[in-house]
Structures are given as C-alpha cells and as structure tokens.
C-alpha cells in the first residue's frame, strides 16, 4: 500500500499555494504510507539554467564548498540552495551532463534526485508530516507537483527506495503497486543506456517511460506502452515539464480518484486527500478507468 497525490494547476493564481495544497494532500495519505515520503515540484525556469537536486546523508560536510568546487570544475557559476539533506544546484543548462560526472568525482556519496529546467525532488525516510516540514514543502510554489507516501513492499526503507523517481530531464514517476517483470526491464533498459540506480521496481517504470519518450513517444504514448510492456499492479502518476499523466493497470485494484475544476486537475489515492482543495464541492470527481491513459499538458 502507498499513497499518491498530484496537482496540476490551470489557474496561475494558485501557483504560490501549490506546495501548501500538496503538503496537505500528502499528510492526509500518511495512513497509506508512513515509511517515507517524497515530492516532485515543477517551478518556473530561468532561461538557459538547469537545476540539479542532490541529496546527501552528510549534508553539512558535502554541501559546504560544493558550489565553489563544482563551479571551478565546470568553469561556470553554480548556485546552491540547501534544504535540509537536499540542495538545488543551479547551473548552465549546457553543463548538466558534465556536472553529473563531476559530482560523482567530487562527492561520491551524493545522490542526484533529478535534473531539468523546472523539476525539484525532495524525498526522505520518515512520516510525511516530518518530511514535509524538513523541506518546508508548504512554502514552495509551482505549476504542478506529485507526491508519494510509501509503505515499502519491493525494496528497503531508504532514501533510494522512496518515490518520486526521475530518470530523465524534468520527468518523474510515483507508483502504487508492484511490478513483476522489473528485473528483466532493468537489464534491458540499462543496455539501452538508461541510468537506473536503485533496486526499486518503480525506478524501472520511470526509466521505461523515459526510454519511450527518448524514442519519440509522447507522454500519452509512453503510458500506453506501459500497459503492454509492464506486468504487475500499478497506478502511475507521471510528471513532465509541462504535463501530468495517470494510468492504472487493467486489473486496477490500486485505488485512484481524480477531480477537475477550472482551476486544477487533482489526483489522490483516496478522496479524502482531495477534500481541502478549493472548490472541491463543485469539482467533477471520478475514478480513472482501468487501462486508460489520462494526461494533461499546458
């Protein structure tokens, strides 16, 4: 069992409240996943800049001179914004791959959570309320975001085992369920050059979607592919830079509720995750159909 929440804003006036709304939704889903929690939030981009979200178990030591060291290696200006065990590194977009290689050298214990123009990912072990407080999620603004509360089944309760997973620029995936053919796909996707760092089944799902989109599929087409190629139970919620998608496996035993108003599209594992959203009383509320792809983009 896990909990998923997602919020895709159509109304710009809600953007400053995105973090607060998502945090409330996330904390409501604590019963479904008290082990760990995470959130991917899509903010606004500065042109030509990329963001790398990194995590360290020794943040004080690792983050102290990281911006300076990385900047020197890349020959470019790097800004670091620390939030507890995470930090967002802002650097020229053209230097992302170089930066990933440099980070592995400079700071081998560092985990790269995500890279992209707008995405930031924060995830840790602990109660969702505590995780949200550590990163001050409620203060974050943005255009859309996805959150996950985890009750572990497929791999250990660690930061690496927490969702969301990001395997491509500005892409992320959260998952409720368990995949049964992930080992096979992990081997195949690694051969295809995808970066998969954990033993977790969901990360393979994320890499699968990244692979599909690298080969020209739209988000919707990638999700259609998942229905054919991934075996097991899943309710997936996916984020891209400008999109938000949902798909459930054909058996659809993992719960899902969606709500749409003129202001937003929202997803919750249960309806109670949605009850504090503005205008929910008048929203169109429905259960996504099995084996049916839903996606929105701006």
């Amino acid at each position: 069992m896990c909990g998923i929440v997602g919020l895709f804003l159509k109304d710009k006036s809600l953007e400053l409240q995105l973090g607060a709304l998502l945090t409330d939704m996330l904390v409501t889903m604590t019963d479904r996943g008290p082990d760990s929690a995470g959130i991917a939030i899509y903010g606004h981009s500065a042109s030509e800049k990329a963001k790398l979200t990194v995590q360290s178990d020794h943040a004080d030591a690792d983050f102290d001179t990281l911006a300076q060291d990385l900047g020197d290696t890349l020959g470019a200006k790097v800004n670091l914004h620390r939030k507890d065990t995470h930090a967002v590194l802002e650097l020229p977009a053209s230097k992302v791959n170089e930066a990933r290689d440099a980070l592995a050298e400079l700071c081998p214990g560092l985990r790269v959570m995500s890279d992209g123009a707008t995405i930031e990912i924060y995830k840790e072990v602990g109660l969702p309320r505590d995780v949200a407080r550590r990163f001050d999620l409620a203060a974050m603004g943005g255009t859309h975001g996805i959150g996950h509360t985890r009750m572990a089944t497929e791999s250990a309760v660690t930061t690496d085992g927490a969702h969301p997973y990001s395997t491509g620029a500005d892409q992320c995936l959260v998952h409720n369920g368990s995949l049964s053919n992930h080992n096979n796909w992990r081997r195949r996707l690694k051969r295809e050059g995808l970066r998969i760092e954990s033993e977790n089944d969901t990360e393979v799902g994320a890499a699968y979607l990244t692979w599909k989109m690298q080969n020209g599929a739209s988000l919707g087409e990638a999700l259609e592919g998942a229905l054919d190629d991934l075996d097991g139970f899943f309710t997936f919620v996916v984020g891209t830079r400008d999109g938000f998608g949902v798909v459930r496996d054909p058996i659809a035993c993992k719960p899902a509720v969606m709500a749409e108003t003129d202001q937003y599209v929202a997803f919750g594992s249960e309806y109670r995750a949605l009850v504090n959203l503005p205008g929910i009383e008048g929203a169109r509320v429905w259960e996504p159909e099995p084996a049916t792809v839903y996606f929105w983009s701006r």
Binding site: A252, P255, Y271, R272
Partner: protein, 227 residues
C-alpha cells in the same frame, strides 16, 4: 433528527453511538455531517434507524449493515455495504470497487456507476446500479440479484453460482461459466419488484438475464481450459 458532525466528533464515537441504538429506539433519524471521505462510516449498525451521510465516504461505508437504512448523498469509496446482512444502503453518486461484496441480504442501490468487482462473492444481497459496472463484477456470486441499468464491463459473472444478473445495456464480455439465460415471468416479477424498491424508472422487459451454466460446480477434466 439527531446530527453528528465528524468535523468535531471522533469517528469511533459516531459508530459507537449508532451501533448502540436498540431496536425500539425513538431516535430513528440521524445525519452525519462532514464525512470528507473518512473510512468505515456507519458500520456494523443493527437497528431500524435511518442514517443520512451528507457528502462522500471512504472505504467500507455501511459495512456489515443490519436493519438500518444508510443513505450517502455523495459517492462511496471501496467496499461500500460489504457483507451487508439486511437493511438498505443508497449511494446517490458513484461507488468504487467491490461494492456490496459478500453481502448476505438487504438492498444496495447505487444511483451513479459502480466500478470493478461489484457484487463479488455476493451471497444473497440485492444490488441495483443505475449506471454502469466495471470488470469482474459478480465474480463467484452465489445468491441474490444484481441489476444493472447501464453497461457491464469485462468478465461479468465469472465462476458464478446461483446469483441472478440482469443487465439493460451492453455486456463487454461474460466470464467463465456465465451465460445468457431466458427471461421468464418469474424473473420479470423479481426485477419489477427490485426496480420499484430501488425507485428506478426502467421497464423489466428491457433487461437481459445472465446466470451460471453450472459447468464449473465440480471439477471436470474436460473443463480444465476454463479454470
């Protein structure tokens, strides 16, 4: 009308209060305010009381109901009226998966759609759905009636025993050992009574009846492919 507001009253207190009503209670009318998708609302009731839940509920609303009438003005989450023994449960909106599962008696009315596994393993409950139902509904259903005014999803009535299934719309596919059967006068009478009790405006003649081919009751090597 007695009122319990879940914005202030704890859920367990609300259920304990409703469960404590005796058969001869004078407090027969109750309303539950601010359900906000909470789980296990109005479960295990055993008195002829009427409970109106004003809003939408989470998992297992009105589970194990006996005698009571529970009316949800919004939608219901998974497992509504699970294992109901008697009484009536009415959902004005939609119901999530396994509505009325294993129910032994009483009437469950869903004014919207019900999703997958509606009436799974039903054992005597009557279920009337005004909209559509999802896949694997009435799986291993043993007794009772499932009436669907809209369409039914894949594998309706798989491994069915003696429950009667009535569908007005299209059936995407029938499950193993479920077949269409002749609609006889006694079935039209059962259907007319259920539609009237559910206050659904539909003509029994518009429905088709489905039931068990009774080939899977006992293991038969010739049926191995169907298991």
């Amino acid at each position: 009308m007695q009122s319990i507001d879940l914005a202030t009253a704890p859920l367990r207190e609300m259920n304990a209060t409703l469960q404590a009503q005796a058969a001869q209670t004078n407090a027969t009318q109750w309303e539950i305010l601010n359900p906000r998708g909470a789980h296990a609302i109005a479960v295990g009731l055993d008195a002829p009381i009427e409970v109106t839940v004003r809003g939408s509920t989470g998992y297992y609303c009105a589970g194990m109901n006996k005698q009571a009438t529970v009316h949800v003005t919004g939608s219901a989450g998974p497992g509504v009226a699970e294992n109901m023994m008697s009484g009536t449960v009415i959902i004005d909106g939609d119901a999530s998966q396994y509505a009325g599962a294993t129910g032994r008696g009483g009437l469950l009315v869903i004014r919207g759609n019900a999703s997958s596994r509606c009436g799974i393993s039903m054992k005597g409950i009557d279920i009337v759905v005004q909209g559509n139902i999802g896949h694997m509904s009435a799986f291993m259903a043993q007794a009772g009636n499932l009436v669907v005014c809209g369409d039914a999803g894949e594998a309706l009535g798989d491994s069915l025993y003696e429950a009667r299934l009535f569908v007005r719309g299209k059936v995407k596919s029938l499950g193993a050992d479920c077949i269409e059967k002749e609609m006889r006068a006694e079935h039209l009478e059962i259907l007319r009574d259920l539609l009237a009790r559910a206050e659904v405006d539909a003509r029994p003649e518009e429905f088709r009846r489905y039931g068990s081919a009774r080939k899977l009751y006992n293991f038969d090597i010739d049926n191995a492919a169907a298991y």
